[in-house]
């Protein structure tokens, strides 16, 4: 009898060792929004209940809509955002997120050696019209517009932002999504969710892990298939490429990223992917690298200790940092 009892306990103990001890894993939930930053935003998270996920994703959606309204320069409603700054040439008592984003833009102008310039809105709007109208912008108009992209004329004061060149326009398209993804991720974490991934149109921000391991992010091969999978834990992965946002004219494919030096779409690479901690940095860097020759880009990545993958027009690849293709 005693032996039977011992056996019984042995079964119970070993069963609990192999299966029952840990807390029941939380469930995976996912939702998407299409009304923010002119792209698709997908949010995946592990939560204890559907109610918890819905409450967090509602807050996330609100925050993204708020940031979208602040940063939008084309159709935003009247308000204190960048649309007003471009229209009036100044903005009083700006929201902290506007100040922070513009400061980030200035910082990356320096870091990228001018390859990323948020003050080139006048040039970008000509390309914006070109995409809408299906005709390349006039070369003289581009040169004319390029006289008004001196970022030192964007003056950020404590309670007022001023454009001291009245023809200058701000366009934060190259950094806004990354900044928003980073801010949104911080909000989600503050709401108590530790394990999630947020994809804001090519800006992926991951936090924590899944019950069965790290997040697995596939980097697309522009010619089809997957180039590599990146195991991401608390990382940002951002891709700038010519295969998602582009337009075609007379059979030529133009990227949506305009090189501030040539004033024409950058065409050195098919795509550049950056792996780093902060999504705002990732977005700014991937755009910068997309307009930069490989040697300079490599040097910059090594200096900042970030990883990157370049895909060249002939399909060949280059990497910096510990990445296996």
């Amino acid at each position: 009898m005693k032996r039977l009892l011992t056996a019984f306990w042995a079964v119970l103990i070993s069963l609990s060792i192999f299966s029952g001890c840990e807390k029941a894993p939380s469930e995976r939930f996912q939702t998407s929004y299409t009304d923010v930053f002119d792209t698709v935003c997908t949010f995946t998270a592990y939560c204890d209940s559907e109610e918890e996920f819905e409450s967090v994703s509602d807050s996330l959606h609100e925050e993204l809509l708020r940031l979208h309204r602040l940063f939008d320069i084309y159709e935003g409603p009247q308000g204190g955002g960048l649309l007003a700054l471009n229209r009036d040439g100044y903005l009083e008592n700006p929201d902290k997120d506007i100040t922070d984003l513009l400061e980030l833009g200035k910082e990356y102008y320096e870091i990228s050696g001018g390859k990323l310039n948020i003050a080139m809105g006048s040039v970008l709007s000509l390309w914006h019209d070109a995409r809408e109208n299906g005709a390349l912008p006039d070369k003289d108009k581009l040169t004319q517009a390029s006289m008004h992209m001196d970022i030192s004329k964007l003056i950020i004061g404590d309670d007022k932002i001023t454009l001291s060149d009245s023809d200058m326009r701000i366009d934060v398209g190259a950094i806004a999504k990354g900044y928003a993804a980073q801010k949104a991720a911080e909000l989600i974490r503050n709401l108590g969710i530790k394990n999630f991934a947020l994809d804001l149109g090519g800006n992926i921000k991951t936090s924590g892990s899944k019950p069965d391991g790290d997040w697995n992010i596939g980097v697309r091969d522009p010619d089809g298939g997957i180039l590599t999978g990146i195991k991401a834990k608390d990382l940002s992965i951002v891709t700038s490429g010519d295969y998602e946002r582009f337009f075609e004219l007379d059979g030529v494919r133009y990227s949506h990223i305009i090189n501030p030096e040539t004033l024409y779409p950058a065409d050195i690479y098919r795509s550049v992917t950056v792996v780093c901690e902060n999504s705002a940095d990732g977005d700014a860097l991937s755009t910068s690298l997309f307009c930069m020759d490989f040697e300079s880009g490599k040097e910059l990545c090594e200096k900042l200790e970030i990883k990157a993958i370049w895909v060249l027009p002939d399909g060949s690849t280059q990497t910096v940092g510990d990445i296996e293709l």
Partner: protein, 121 residues
């Protein structure tokens, strides 16, 4: 003393406990086997992706009158190849991720990808 009695047949006890632990481990592994990620069959023609299919669904895919890819019972094989050497047919069935069947004359490759991506960018 109580414990002296139990030590009288220590070997038998150990064997019993070990057997039960092993049984529990096997049960655990079987229960978890169903959680393994889904594999994908990727067919490429001249390097371009022709199509991606879950390996779990039985189906036949004809690739541009060059050959037919059969997904059956978790394995993948090629039939009706028009190439003269029919090496791809003779390759037989593949089922593990990373394995591939290549038809060089037709420029077609069939590959099993075991990766399960949360996001692709």
């Amino acid at each position: 003393m109580r414990s002296n009695k139990r030590i009288s047949k220590p070997l038998a006890d150990c064997v019993l406990i070990a057997a039960l632990v092993a049984l529990a481990l096997i049960a655990y592994l079987i229960l978890n086997a169903g959680k393994s990620e889904g594999k994908t069959v990727i067919i490429r023609e001249n390097g371009e992706v022709f199509g991606e299919y879950p390996i779990s669904e039985d189906m036949e895919i004809e690739v541009d009158k060059l050959l037919t890819v059969v997904i059956e019972g978790g394995g993948v094989y090629v039939k009706n190849a028009v190439c003269p050497d029919k090496l791809c047919e003779r390759r037989g069935s593949i089922s593990r991720s990373g394995e591939a069947i290549v038809c060089l004359p037709g420029g077609v490759s069939v590959e099993i990808s075991g990766e399960d991506y949360d996001f692709v960018l």
